[in-house]
């Protein structure tokens, strides 16, 4: 499913005009994006939480050419799946 399909599904489920559903989806993901850019955590109960982790730089190697390359330190969001979603997805 992509974002426009998510918008359509939300519009259908809530009886909202597409434009409104689009604004809702953009607002919710926009809030999450802003929080992560600021380095804040995101906690949506039942769904999951995000926090930005700092990764150290390291010297790596291009596996194709064997060339040494410096990998700069970076920050990446880490998503921890919430309890409810974890249990619902794990169908085994």
């Amino acid at each position: 499913m992509n974002k426009s399909q998510l918008i359509e599904a939300l519009a259908r489920a809530e009886g909202l005009p597409l434009k409104k559903a689009e604004e809702v989806v953009n607002t919710v993901f926009g809030d999450m994006e802003k929080a992560l850019i600021q380095g804040d955590r995101v906690e949506i109960r039942g769904f999951g939480s995000f926090k930005v982790k700092q990764y150290e730089g390291y010297t790596g190697r291009n596996p194709k050419t064997g060339e040494m390359i410096k990998v700069a330190p970076k920050k990446l969001p880490f998503f921890k799946v919430g309890k409810e979603l974890k249990e619902r997805v794990d169908v085994y």
Partner: protein, 95 residues
Amino acid sequence: MALTKEKTVNSVYHQVGLSKSQSRTVVETLFEIIKSTLEKGEDLLISGFGKFVVKEKAARRGRNPQTTEDLQLRARRVVVFKTSGVLRNKINGGS
């Protein structure tokens, strides 16, 4: 301060112009659609944000690091998140 569902409800209320209770219902429904999509084993791609991917993990032998006891870990299905390049650049101070 962590972003919570209640804060996103407030943003929807202020920015989309739905009533407070409708904003709350709509945000709940949005996350329910996302969860049931992933539950069906379908990935969810939010362009510019990232991708939630359902992964099948094979059963494997594991070990309890504390007791060093060997154990069998069953096959599982899990959700992983892959950050979009756009968001990743924004988080790292790029444009």
